[in-house]
């Protein structure tokens, strides 16, 4: 639901309805926003997997859950591990977009001790290989497009989806992040967020698109705590 989120003081931002209209795009199904029930969604999924329904962009949110003990039973849809359904859909989509740090790299669920046995779509934390092998490519010949950040902001999502539909070069970096991706802290030109250096948190992907203001307060925690 971060696609309905907001970022940046005084910025109007993009909206999903305007994007759909502008690109004459059809939203096949969204779990929170569609009228069709999951039973009907299951039929849509079956048609896509059977190749009867074209799928231009597959947007995946959330880490891929493999637990317990590699069975995928910690996250099922109609009795099937969702992991298997996502893998089958990836096989049909022209482009696959991982929306956020969890889908990209596993995110916080994949933080130690990773109780749900989570991975990202094509990475696990900073290592290549997740649900999909490092050499996997979508029908359009691209790896998974990783929109990391937690959450990825609506503007980045919509700008990246627009670039895909308009056939523009995404300028993917070595971990599959598009050029539209902003640094998660407000340092211009700095893609690596350096959260760990700044605040002492391990971020497992990212802790947010913008860090709020008084960073000095957070430094107290890392150095000696300030006295009252």
């Amino acid at each position: 639901m971060a696609i309905l989120g907001a970022e940046g003081r005084g910025k109007p931002g993009h909206t999903l309805p305007a994007f759909l209209e502008e690109h004459d795009a059809r939203l096949l199904w969204h779990p929170s926003l569609s009228l069709e029930s999951p039973r009907e969604a299951a039929a849509i999924i079956d048609r896509v997997i059977a190749g009867e329904q074209a799928l231009t962009m597959l947007c995946v949110e959330g880490s891929i859950i493999h637990g317990p003990n590699g069975t995928g039973r910690f996250d099922v849809f109609e009795g099937r591990p969702k992991r298997d359904i996502v893998a089958a859909l990836c096989g049909q989509a022209e482009y696959v977009l991982a929306m956020g740090s969890c889908a990209s790299f596993g995110g916080i669920p994949a933080a130690p001790p990773n109780p749900s046995e989570s991975t990202g779509l094509q990475y696990t934390n900073n290592q290549p290989g997740g649900l999909l092998a490092p050499e996997w490519r979508s029908a359009a010949g691209l790896p998974v497009i990783n929109l990391s950040a937690c959450p990825v902001d609506a503007t980045t999502m919509i700008e990246t989806m627009s670039a895909v539909l308009e056939g523009r070069d995404l300028g993917l970096d070595k971990v599959g992040r598009p050029a539209m991706q902003k640094p998660c802290l407000s340092d211009p030109g700095e893609k690596r967020c350096r959260t760990v250096d700044k605040v002492g948190y391990a971020c497992y992907g990212c802790i947010g698109p913008k860090f709020p203001l008084s960073k000095a307060l957070f430094k107290h925690r890392v150095a000696a705590p300030a006295s009252a």
Partner: protein, 508 residues
């Protein structure tokens, strides 16, 4: 027709989270029900052994819908454990941001998640069909649905002013907030409140806020709906349609209501935190005696008999409880726990929050009709009007205290037990933390949906949703729209519930 008894499973969407419902049907009537949490993430296990401040970053990521609520509950849990003084302006800013999130959530839930079911093919012949399609048709086709996306984004400008982003901003720290407070930010808040209120009056209510807030009884509301201008407003269409399809008598569930209370009083919420001074009171409403008692978190206990988790001997208070998956026993069917208050099955949500806070209109409607799918949803349309006034008051208070700090530093204690709770849009949310040697020794999150969607408890009593499904008549088993209404009236947020379970559907 001969009666037929069978067990079916069904999928539901437009709930935030993964859960299945199993129903035993006697012909078309639900004879019994089981709520089954189906997704496990293990946030509580991830928090164990970490620096307590990590909870401020990790816990809010349990949920992308009410991240301000999770952050506020987490920081309050740490402050009570540390016995740390809090800057009054810090509490004011937290309250203001949480109110903005609540107002946003009420509109998004009502118009993007609940109302789309009015466009269900089952109602194609309804006299108001064209009107509800024009207003609510998903996705984003209905006029009000589109406006809701735009306008709710604007009210988030308040969270943006202080937190930089929504969701998942991390601006609350034990002692207050980390952001600057200045006149420019307060003006952004004023503009957001003015704009949102103008939209709500024009596009939803069809009358002024003052006129709406003057309605104090069920009779007042009935009279208001008689006026043509009101009947034709979005709220009027919503109300007329909902009552015409029988939502007033649908899915009552347990009569007991619970709310922890919300919006700490900025001046009085300080160590030793023995009381909970809230601007919006909480409490326990006993549905049988109609008596109201103050809320005490020591009356909360988690039952694990039917949870697919290791049971170290339940029921236990959350400080003593655990969350470890375990499929060794045969009885369990859900990854969620069963939480009970004074050994009672309770329901949480805006209905409970408004009743316990003493809202006259909600209390009058409860007395007249009892809890129902309609009343639960109506409170989401009603609540934002007074909330916007309270937001204005909070901004004025901040302006009067402009030069004062929003943060007081203090040395964190290495040991302590903490409890923080607020009302998220979908009901009270509690975080319990136990800190030992400067590390998190235990962390338990109990969400409103964990209460409402719980499985059976140790005595075998059904959870609130399970109870609210029993007796439901489902006309078309391939399109169980009645069930959709009942579930959605709880703004089911399963992402957080099965603390571990998150997901999307409701299978039955």
């Amino acid at each position: 027709m001969a009666s037929e008894r069978r067990v079916i499973r069904m999928e539901l969407n437009r709930v935030e989270g993964d859960m299945e419902v199993k129903l035993e049907l006697d012909d078309h009537t639900v004879a019994d029900a089981w709520c089954i949490g189906t997704m496990f993430r293990g946030f509580e296990q991830i928090l164990l052994g970490r620096d307590p401040a990590d909870a401020l970053v990790i816990a809010p990521r349990i949920c992308g819908i009410c991240s301000t609520s999770q952050l506020y509950a987490a920081v309050s849990a740490l402050e009570t454990a540390y016995q740390q003084p809090i800057a009054a302006n810090g509490t004011r800013i937290r309250n203001l941001c949480l109110m903005a999130e609540s107002v946003m959530s009420d509109a998004r839930h009502s118009f993007l998640m609940f109302a789309p079911d009015f466009c269900n093919p089952a109602y194609a012949g309804h006299p108001l069909h064209d009107r509800v399609v024009e207003l609510f048709e998903p996705p984003f086709k209905g006029r009000l649905a589109r406006e809701t996306v735009e306008e709710t984004k604007r009210i988030l400008a308040i969270v943006i002013a202080f937190g930089g982003a929504w969701p998942h901003s991390t601006y609350m720290m034990p002692g207050g907030v980390t952001c600057e407070l200045d006149e420019a930010r307060l003006q952004e808040c004023d503009a957001a409140i003015d704009g949102y209120q103008a939209w709500y009056e024009r596009s939803v209510l069809g009358c002024s806020s003052e006129e709406w807030l003057a309605l104090e009884t069920a009779e007042d509301l009935a009279a208001w709906l008689e006026a043509p201008a009101h009947r034709d407003s979005a709220l009027g269409v919503f109300a007329t349609f909902a009552t015409s399809i029988g939502l007033e008598g649908l899915g009552s569930g347990t009569p007991h209501l619970l709310s922890t209370g919300c919006y700490y009083d900025p001046e009085r919420w300080q160590p030793p935190f023995d009381e909970r001074p809230c601007l919006e009171d909480g409490g326990f409403y006993d549905g049988e005696t109609k008596a109201i008692e103050p809320f005490s978190h020591f009356e909360v206990a988690e039952h694990l008999r039917y949870a697919r988790l290791a049971d170290p001997g339940s029921p236990r208070h959350p400080w003593e409880s655990e969350t470890r998956p375990d499929d060794a026993r045969d009885e369990p069917y859900s990854l969620a726990k069963a939480t009970r208050y004074k050994d009672r099955v309770v329901q949480l949500g805006p209905l409970s929050d408004l009743v316990l806070a003493g809202d006259p209109l909600t209390r009058s409607l409860l007395a007249a009709q009892g809890a129902s799918t309609w009343l639960r949803q109506f409170t989401r349309l009603h609540r934002p009007v007074a909330a916007l006034q309270e937001m204005r008051r909070t901004v004025a208070e901040l302006r009067a205290h402009l030069g004062e700090p929003a943060y007081v530093a203090a040395e964190p204690r290495t040991d302590g037990d903490g409890f923080g709770a607020i009302n998220a849009a979908r009901g009270s949310l509690g975080h319990w933390v136990r800190i030992r040697d400067g590390k998190i020794d235990n962390y338990q999150v109990i969400t409103p949906t964990a209460w409402n969607g719980s499985p059976r408890d140790n005595s075998g009593r059904r959870g609130h949703w399970e109870e609210s499904f029993v007796g439901l008549e489902i006309a078309d088993l391939d399109n169980p729209v009645e069930l959709f209404h009942v579930v959605r009236s709880h703004d089911a947020c399963l992402v957080c519930t099965v603390h571990l379970a998150r997901g999307r559907s409701f299978a039955l």
